[in-house]
Subunit: 296 residues, 2 copies
């Protein structure tokens, strides 16, 4: 299969869906909707929604209700980027090659746009007109995955741990703990949501979860490597920022080559968990390979 | 009935429940959990959870699953206060007589504590161990009410409209629009959630909604009046801040006595919507009366 074509097609599906459910910029409160759309359509790769869709299809799912479920993950991811970029947090001026949300709309609006995107994620997954045909019990389970993956012992907790680790001489276990929460839990939720929505068996959900945990770590290691090796043009943001901030990363512990090797091992392990899934899981396998091959 | 006793008992039920589900301060990430607990247990009256419980009981509900549903509203309310108080928003130092969250924990942690509380609201309402016995279809409908009431065309949208109206010469219709979103939508959601969880008929939900819209407006008018007439001790925060900020409020348009009269009319209208509900709705009626009689 052609993973680039798959990614492009699914990205378009997700973008089209998101555009159809996001209020237009002219609808009041107009400035809020402008700020929400600005970051939501700033060129994201839609990795999390695509993981959810690929997991859904891997277990045989084929209904359009996967789109609101999958897209909710992008709303959560986008809100987290807006809040992470704030002056009180990472104080970043650029994201994906564009000015960050608060640089364009001001701090108050950026905080509120983040809050509204987070809330809209839960709106999407509970809308009766959009999630049509999924049994309500599975729907509640999807919502639980989304909340647990992005909250105090998920993504938000990981951001706290990341802030607290900055500038400190942390060990590898602490670094892994930060990543497992900050990026790992939402990736895990993405894949599990796809499985649950596709009526996967408990055994299948377990294997998808193991796959997700492996690619979550590989994703983060690859990000750390890209921060060292990527250019500003490739990344769409400043390069080598971790080192200049004195942040410990995988390349700090293992060097760039050692970190790359670790990521490759995780990808191989992820793919091994999918042995019993057959050809429908090919996109999931290719996605795992893509994670370490990407340039941004 | 003794409304004060009712309020005190339900407040204790909600507080006990919230304490049981909130991670202890020692659980990592400890600073996040400390910040979340700090604002959550800062002496809130639990008006929204109690409205949900009272509406639930008014339609005959009697299961403990109402507690996670009702308490989720307090998590949303608390997060909104933390974010509203931030330097980029209202820049308030005190709330309920205590230092605001960011004054104690710093701005980054206050933003994240708000994010985590918002997310935890959706965690609570989707947890299978807590929401036990409610049919999943109603559970999804409850989640939809919660999301719609607190998002871009609900509470967050109202905060945006409020910020944009500040210092401007707005008319009464704009003022009412701000309130209908900023406080009205979550109060409306509270009452509707109680009704939906209690398997209310469509007609009952409509009447509860009309009741909620009336008391939502009465609540805001009473708040505006208290801002003029209350003391720092009674309010637990600075008094007369609206006037010093040049903010237009109900007393600006109608004077204190005129505003009080308007609030009383709304309370009477709210109670009239409950005519068919019988004695089980007595707490809802007393709650409506309490809104304009309270001192903080």
């Amino acid at each position: 299969m052609d993973i680039k074509q798959y990614l492009e097609q699914k990205r378009q599906d997700v973008d089209r869906f998101l555009d159809s459910v996001m209020p237009p910029e002219s609808a009041p409160p107009a400035n809020l909707h402008k700020a929400m759309r600005y970051s939501l359509f700033a060129g994201g790769k839609r990795v999390r929604p695509i993981l959810a869709i690929a997991a859904y299809e891997a277990v045989g799912g084929a209904s359009p209700f996967i789109l609101p479920l999958a897209s909710s993950l992008e709303l959560i991811h986008t809100y987290s980027l807006i809040h992470d970029d704030l002056p009180a947090m990472d104080n970043d001026d650029y994201r994906r090659g564009k000015l960050t949300n608060h640089k364009v709309f001001g701090e108050a609006m950026a905080i509120l746009a983040g809050d509204a995107l987070l809330t809209m994620a839960f709106d999407l997954v509970s809308r009766p007109d959009l999630v049509n045909g999924l049994d309500p019990r599975s729907q509640v389970n999807v919502i639980q995955e989304l909340a647990a993956g992005s909250g105090n012992v998920g993504m938000v907790g990981g951001q706290v741990a990341d802030i607290e680790a900055e500038g400190k001489d942390i060990d590898l276990a602490t670094l892994e703990g930060v990543h497992r929460w900050k990026t790992g839990k939402l990736i895990r939720a993405s894949v599990r949501i796809g499985g649950i929505a596709g009526s996967a068996t408990a055994e299948q959900v377990n294997r998808l979860t193991a796959y997700a945990e492996d690619i979550g770590l590989a994703f983060q290691i690859a990000d750390d490597v890209l921060n060292v090796t990527g250019t500003r043009e490739e990344l769409g943001k400043d390069a080598n920022t971790d080192a200049s901030r004195g942040k410990k990363t995988y390349p700090t512990f293992f060097g760039v080559d050692g970190a790359r090797k670790l990521a490759d091992e995780r990808v191989a392990s992820a793919i091994a968990h999918l042995t019993d899934f057959g050809p429908k899981a090919e996109p999931l396998r290719e996605l795992a390979r893509y994670i370490t091959a990407r340039k941004n």
